[in-house]
Homo-oligomer: 283 residues x 4
């Protein structure tokens, strides 16, 4: 008992919804969720449709081939997922452990349906946490002189562990364009500010210096340009004049955990479509 999920984007035209739903229905699939959006500026059509695979006339293995017929006819980009799959996540972390802990506890409690076979860090602070969850931990320190070498090792590990996507859980190093492109729309970062405000270093110090009354956190896909990728989720918390940088960090930690956890949940549920530098989030 599992479902198929199809994510679709293409130029808008008449009859798209009907064609797709007719394909599902005429093959005896029951649609459980359907979300659709048309971007009026670019006249692009986006769709997420999920249907039950029991009694469906097309087998799991043949589905992609069958669907590709109507897809090519209509100029669709699409990707099909099955809900019985368990995505494999690698978590990258530096010194701060709160986001790492948060994700591991959500996996352990069953809130996330995924595996975490691998934790990578440029520091050793989180090693004991990895061990307490029985997850292999790789300590790969990184600096400007060894970056391409280390990234090679990282990519090897990601292949070896058959990783589907990466979560940067307060990982403070930058990746090369080549690495980023390898995991396009499959690397989720948490930045501890309300982007585009306070991109780059020390956002809490920047926020304190500016005297804002609200701080934020932003989860986004990583792109070549720092802290500028498609935003998946943001949230904020109120602060006031009595909060120093340290209490901002403390309040921010709760925010970072929540915002990153929502982005990972949405990504796992295949509810995020990227177009240009933006996201459609069907939630």
């Amino acid at each position: 008992m599992y479902n198929a999920i199809c994510l679709i984007s293409c130029p808008d035209r008449k009859g798209l919804v009907a064609k797709i739903t007719d394909f599902i229905s005429s093959n005896n699939g029951n649609i459980e969720h359907l979300d659709q959006h048309i971007d009026p500026q670019s006249k692009t059509f986006f769709m997420r449709v999920e249907w039950a695979m029991d009694d469906f006339n097309i087998s799991r293995n043949d589905l992609d081939k069958s669907f590709s017929c109507i897809a090519s006819e209509l100029g669709m980009n699409y990707k099909i997922y099955f809900t019985d799959g368990k995505p494999r996540i690698a978590i990258f972390v530096s010194k701060l452990s709160h986001c790492l802990y948060d994700i591991l506890l959500r996996v352990k409690s069953g809130e996330y349906n995924c595996d975490v076979p691998l934790i990578v860090s440029d520091h050793t602070e989180c090693q004991s946490i990895a061990e307490s969850f029985d997850i292999p931990f790789y300590h790969l320190p990184k600096n400007s002189s060894n970056i391409s070498n280390v990234e090679e090792q990282e990519l090897d590990l990601l292949r070896q562990y058959d990783i589907d996507f990466l979560v940067l859980a307060r990982y403070m190093k930058i990746f090369s364009d080549r690495f980023v492109n390898e995991f396009e729309n499959r690397m989720i970062n948490i930045h501890h500010s309300f982007l585009p405000a306070f991109a780059g270093k020390s956002p809490y110090s920047q926020a304190h210096a500016r005297g804002v009354k609200i701080i934020g956190a932003t989860s986004h896909y990583v792109t070549e340009q720092l802290d500028s990728g498609p935003i998946i989720e943001q949230d904020i918390v109120r602060i006031n004049h009595s909060d120093d940088v340290e209490t901002l960090r403390c309040k921010g930690r709760d925010l970072e955990r929540i915002v990153l956890s929502r982005a990972v949940r949405l990504h796992l549920a295949k509810k995020v479509l990227v177009y240009g530098n933006k996201t459609v989030v069907f939630d």
Copy 2:
């Protein structure tokens, strides 16, 4: 250039989405928005679909008849609206004017696409506001002894002005079951608490006495049972120990305006479906 909107609910079964979208598509309609939900407990299917009527093969006048064929075949409840229609709203108000003003300004600014041909009140405080917006104002004081008589007058006015739905903008009198049933799912009330907490009288005094740290407002359809109808929208604002009942009222007024305005906006956009004592809000 206008759209048709169809709201549908029925027992869930395979092929519903395909049948409906095929009907639209095969008649040359382009679907601009489609939202769908299945309530897993009652296995009920809900849908809101909106499509462009230009180039549509079925005329506006014949649409209902044409659609009724597939609807009866599939056991659907449905209702069709057109976006060029201007719903006619009657506003009921007592002494406090903030919600009344808020709605009138949204209508005036073009944020709401509707007409307000009629304001009814059991007091005279808001008469001058009605006049400044050139809207007929009827002062109909109501008490336990004259209620059925006054409701008769109100119903006459609502018919005479061809009113589609009622907004109770801090109207503090109760309606009879008969009146309520006449406007089932067409009477929107704003209650100044986070329902079901603090139903009934003086919710801000109740909230203050209980020492809550957050107050709320709730917009709902009116049913026979006081403050218990299907909830359309709620929101909250933080308070603290230094807020007395008067500052709660003041903070609450902003909340009431926002929550009521969102509920009216959703209702005008035909984005609310009622089932049992709950709502599906496609937003």
Copy 3:
């Protein structure tokens, strides 16, 4: 029956609170509110203290002179206000009326204790609103060539009407440094973004282009540098991919009204102290 409010800032040292409260208490004043903050970086002391003037031994007229003795001894900046005063506000507005309306209705309902004897605009759209509230309206169109001339007229009006502070209720013109300095910490602006993100022109278009999931509004004192003055209040509202720039504007209007109204309320209540480019808000 009225209170005195004293706002104080000075270098921190031992005994400040005791000296000030002893001054009030030994003259038979009952302290009703006292808020205090020490900025640990600059070691600056901030205080707001409010006490009842009935039975107070020092008359209203002598209070400033009496207080100046301890103030000069301790190196204090201070300012004393009385709660029976009615500040006189000038509202500057361009085409959009929602913030103007909001403030006028709060004054009318008694929520704000102030007078609005004057509305200034570079357009005529809001003239009829001013008239309906019986407030003199001055239409002073402004462009790069006439700005110093027009500002002269504006300053004359502000003097003539004995204006205490200015509210820029979506007034879209920039003031000269000279004008700004004349009303230092007495000009409140509403910017329709979550500053420092999207400063300058068309923040909703900027927000839409960036694909943020939350939009904000910021109320701040005007300084020589555009959209960079001390922030008084900010708030946000959630948006999603289906919101176009027009719906952002619509959602933003509600936010702008709320944020500006809170900033004006705080300023009227003498709850805001400015230091450097930040504010202490005692609320």
Copy 4:
């Protein structure tokens, strides 16, 4: 280098702030924080004052005796704390571990300045967590027939471990009045609803059945009456028609952790004063 914190409540009268601050100042104490509130209905005065103990003329041991002189003269209830103390917390938990984990991680990261020498549970699900944090775990199953016996054991443990206050981190059993009174204003519970809505059993099911658009969580001191004690903190999260009871539980878990963690933080910082069934929270 540590501070003294004094929490005070008494009938309001002139000169209270001056007397207290003069006591501190004349003994060479520098006031770092001072918050004060007067409840206008009961004419009760509340104060939290914190000052540096270095250079203070009165020793830690003599302070209470010294202060009691002015306190008895003015009819004050008061309690003095020192910031170098480490309160000792016992956590009570049933099956669900998310709040337990959350508190333990905050203690471990240094966010909370306290010790957790003891975890008590009526189930065994959380035993391994206690062990992984090296904290003694006592499994004390409780039912209607053994309750007084088990409470005796619990009280013995609390005495033996010298516990200052209790955190009920989703502990689902009820305490006797006798137990509650022993820890009056020293037992913090998290209830998974926006109280007073949905008190008692299964609040998420209740919320789902009612069709609310927002769910909440409430942290409060435990009193003899179930879910009715003085509220310390509340917060909410938005839901919609597509959330079933299980997703409410999931969203609620994040809320419960945040709300409980804030209440514990406020209690640890001695920022909460209880009066009647309400709290003054100086934050």
